[in-house]
């Protein structure tokens, strides 16, 4: 059937092109695999470009604009000059020095002996660890529960694995007045329980949460754990911001709850841990009987991760292991520094009429923009959700980049959450100052 395209001429070609069925008249069959259906859009591609094009003060994408700590940079330089092996393939599932120190470090925290070779997989950022997890464990027809708002990649990754996302929202606690901090956003245990079915393969949680900043408490994790055990479900726990908690909030690892180690995959990130997002080193930690499946995906997709960065991070973790809990620890100092920046940004947003929700942890703060009235007269964004339009307006007209929060909601619920935008406060003081200036000036001119 396809080969008759040329005979029938342009009208059939045009119709097929509109149906997406053939590309330049060279290949007449559909080119892309079905697994890519519906997952080609991506907010980062669009918004990072926009921020760059308009040279905006960038509080959008989540990366620090200050340098990683000097001890980690030194470790990297030492690795580079550390002999030829540093530039050649290392162990595929993780550089030995790195998996050994990760095992040591996290064994102490989780309270159990973690096997460096069996229980850990090093990946190209936490992103690839998530990819390996979904590809390894999710089959066509499996349901995966995702807590909204969620880091946007969970949904397309579940889809690409043939799974079906099932959403459950964090919502402002009822009857407690305005939900001013991320602690006020909670899951309803009944609603959560109703989402588990016989087809549920896994639930994804993210603590501290991106974008809200919620840090799940022990009791909240226990509710989730009980359901995972009752329904024999795997828990995927994205904990990339694990060191960044504020106001005394404690980060709790769901894998350390009774009955959870054997069914949890915990994801971590060197990029977020050491403020070096561009190094793209992450890991998944879990019971060997699950991890072996992630390893199979890894060995058939990227196989190895870059050696030198892994070596440098192992040195960083060894250093942190030695000073853990002391004033010298980067894991102690960074949250203190960010605590200040968080407060500063929150105060500034309040002063200009935006309503921030104070995060208990993480890199981000969301703010309610419903009180702001602007004439979003950009015809190119007419069909988009309100927060997308607002963010684009803010970039183009005011030179300030943020991210629309409805991007972190399911297509089904996006409409209900169009009045929040997300700010990243892990920035140099000068960047925060520049943002403040923009906001103050805008507020004065209203």
């Amino acid at each position: 059937m396809w080969r008759r395209v040329a005979v029938y001429g342009p009208s059939l070609s045009v119709r097929l092109a509109i149906a997406g069925f053939h590309e330049k008249g060279i290949m007449s069959r559909r080119l892309h695999a079905r697994r890519l259906e519906g997952i080609d859009k991506n907010i980062w591609v669009e918004f990072t470009q926009l921020a760059a094009d308009y040279k905006a003060v960038n509080l959008g994408q989540g990366f620090p604009d200050f340098s990683p700590p000097s001890f980690i940079q030194e470790a990297f330089c030492n690795a580079l000059t550390g002999g030829f092996r540093m530039h050649q393939y290392t162990r595929a599932f993780g550089h030995p020095n790195l998996v050994k120190i990760l095992a040591k470090f996290f064994s102490r925290i989780v309270g159990r002996e973690i096997d460096p070779m069996e229980d850990i997989l090093v990946s190209v950022g936490a992103y690839q660890a998530l990819f390996c997890t979904f590809q390894a464990l999710v089959d066509e027809g499996d349901e995966v529960i995702i807590v909204e708002p969620f880091f946007d990649c969970y949904q397309p990754m579940v889809m690409m694995a043939g799974g079906m996302p099932v959403y459950v929202p964090l919502k402002p606690r009822e009857g407690r007045g305005p939900a001013l901090t991320s602690a006020d956003w909670v899951l309803s245990p009944e609603e959560l329980a109703s989402k588990f079915t016989s087809r549920t393969k896994a639930i994804v949680i993210n603590t501290p949460n991106n974008p809200l900043g919620k840090v799940y408490q022990w009791e909240e994790l226990q509710v989730i754990a009980d359901l995972c055990i009752k329904h024999d479900v795997i828990c995927i726990s994205d904990e990339v911001y694990e060191w960044l908690t504020y106001d005394g909030a404690k980060h709790v690892k769901i894998a350390s709850l009774p009955g959870m180690w054997e069914r949890t995959v915990t994801i971590g990130s060197a990029g977020k841990t050491f403020s070096a997002t561009g190094w793209k080193v992450g890991w998944a930690i879990g019971s060997g009987h699950i991890m072996k499946h992630l390893k199979t995906v890894h060995q058939n997709s990227v196989y190895h991760c870059a050696t030198a960065a892994q070596e440098a991070i192992s040195v960083g973790f060894q250093r942190e292991y030695d000073v853990f809990g002391t004033e010298d620890s980067y894991f102690h100092q960074l949250p203190i520094t960010l605590h200040e920046k968080r407060k500063r940004l929150a105060d500034c947003l309040k002063s200009v009429g935006l309503k921030p929700i104070l995060p208990q942890g993480g890199y981000f703060m969301i703010a309610d923009i419903s009180n702001i009235n602007v004439d979003l007269n950009d015809p190119t964004t007419k069909e988009e959700p309100y927060d997308y339009r607002f963010v684009k307006w803010l970039i183009k007209e005011k030179g300030l980049a943020t991210i629309p929060v409805s991007a972190f909601y399911s297509p089904e619920h996006r409409d209900q959450f169009q009045k929040y935008i997300r700010f990243c406060f892990v920035k140099e003081d000068s960047t925060l100052q520049a943002a403040e200036n923009i906001l103050k000036q805008w507020s004065e001119n209203k």
């Binding site: 060279i26 340098s67 089959d139 793209k280 995906v297 058939n300």
Partner: protein, 422 residues
């Protein structure tokens, strides 16, 4: 009470049977320093100093320690479009026709996941870099294998050029389900460089059957004197249906940097980009910056003896010839490669009796294990690179890697010289 080994914790169907891997079996060998390791393919010679320096400098810049553009760091994709623009003799759009990935491996994976699915068949030429078959399977498709065949009956002076495809056999592998053919030139493990006419024959079939071509060219710069690397994407009608894979690791002797790229037309690359944005999103920034700078430096020198791309090939030719001679004097029959950094060698003439090792493995697996134990020399069995039906054809061959320091080759030579002394 739920059993820990729950049925629900079983792996997804896509990875069923893909957990085994030849490297898992043989890499532990590398840890033993008393063994001369000519097995796994990575250099033990240092990378060029300007490439390492480039990385050290990049790491000092704050911005370069943070996320860069997902589909490829601008410095790198622009450098790639310059270098390959010249090689392809066409304008390459750095943002739409290039994707940077985690090594040639990641490039192949993005390609398969983007363009191959259940119901498709993918033709793979044996012997093949071992990941092709599992990647095709993981994408839900069926691998269709066709072997290169030795057309010479000589017992000495065999080169990789003597291994060819039977044209009728090849044509017979194409049908309406064929989505793509994977070619690897220079080939790993044989080192064959497909000639223009051989590529034209493949191209003709691709066009006739309207299939894609995935061309793994990671060893593209390692071409020995007298041979020419031809890019199938430059043949008429092929640009629009070909993805070409390249590797920084192989180009600059930095396999541990794990950076590679896919080059092709926008209407194909955009699907690979979709896979990228849903799998690992972006590659490490400082490494990309350093590779970009390295490429720009060598771009200026292209065609001159100083250019690393050709200087490395010159250095390796000496090692290649040395290795071939060392192997030949033991009685083995080396297949001298036209390109790449591997050599396969026929061990038949040694008449090594391995019946004591049982018969549940092909001869080459037993030979390599015996050789590691008795001779302290490691290689890789070539049947790891072929399907079951071709085992008999290849089980007398082992693969050796010669991108090694002279001292490593000296140690190998000592073992080989003493071979017949028991």
């Amino acid at each position: 009470m739920h059993n820990m080994a729950s049925i629900k914790h079983k792996n997804a169907k896509r990875i069923e049977g893909l957990d085994k891997n030849v490297w898992v079996a043989f890499t532990s060998v590398a840890a033993d320093p008393s063994i001369v390791n000519l097995g796994q393919g990575y250099p033990d010679i240092p990378p060029p100093s300007y490439v390492k320096e480039g990385l050290a400098q990049a790491a000092m810049v704050d911005r370069l320690n943070q996320y860069t553009r997902g589909f490829g760091h601008p410095t790198l994709v622009k450098a790639l479009s310059k270098v390959y623009g010249k090689v392809y003799d066409r304008q390459l759009d750095p943002f739409k026709e290039i994707l940077v990935t985690v090594g040639g491996y990641g490039s192949l994976f993005s390609t398969m996941q983007a363009l191959v699915e259940e119901g498709d068949e993918v033709i793979i030429i044996e012997p093949f870099f071992d990941c092709y078959v599992p990647m095709v399977k993981m994408a839900g498709a069926k691998p269709v294998l066709i072997p290169l065949r030795l057309k010479s009956t000589a017992t000495t002076g065999i080169s990789s050029a003597d291994w060819v495809l039977d044209q009728e056999e090849l044509a017979g592998k194409f049908n309406s389900k064929t989505k793509a053919i994977i070619i690897n030139t220079p080939n790993n493990p044989i080192g064959k460089i497909f000639s223009r006419s051989e590529l034209q024959a493949i191209a003709d079939l691709c066009i006739k059957h309207d299939t894609l071509c995935f061309s793994d060219e990671v060893y593209e710069w390692l071409i020995y004197k007298g041979h020419e690397h031809v890019k199938i994407a430059t043949l008429p009608g092929m640009w629009d249906r070909t993805i070409t894979v390249g590797s920084a690791g192989k180009t600059f002797s930095v396999t541990g940097w794990k950076l590679g790229w896919s080059i092709g037309p926008e209407h194909l690359i955009r699907h690979l980009q979709t896979v990228m944005q849903n799998s690992l999103y972006t590659c490490p920034t400082p490494l990309q910056e350093a590779v970009g700078r390295g490429l720009l430096r060598d771009f200026e020198l292209m065609g001159q003896p100083d250019c690393y791309f050709s200087a490395l090939a010159l250095e390796l030719k000496g090692k290649r010839d040395r290795m071939a001679a060392m192997l030949a004097q033991t009685g083995m029959t080396p297949v001298v490669p036209e390109g790449g950094y591997f050599m396969i060698v026929d061990v038949t003439a040694l008449n090594q009796d391995l019946t004591h090792m049982g018969d549940d493995e092909p001869y080459d697996y037993k030979f390599v294990k015996w050789m590691i134990k008795e001779k302290k020399l490691a290689a890789i069995p070539v049947t790891a690179f072929v399907g079951e039906d071709s085992v008999k054809q290849f089980e007398k061959y082992i693969r050796l890697c010669f991108i090694k320091q002279e001292s490593t080759l000296d140690a190998a030579e000592a073992i080989l010289k003493n071979w017949n002394k028991g």
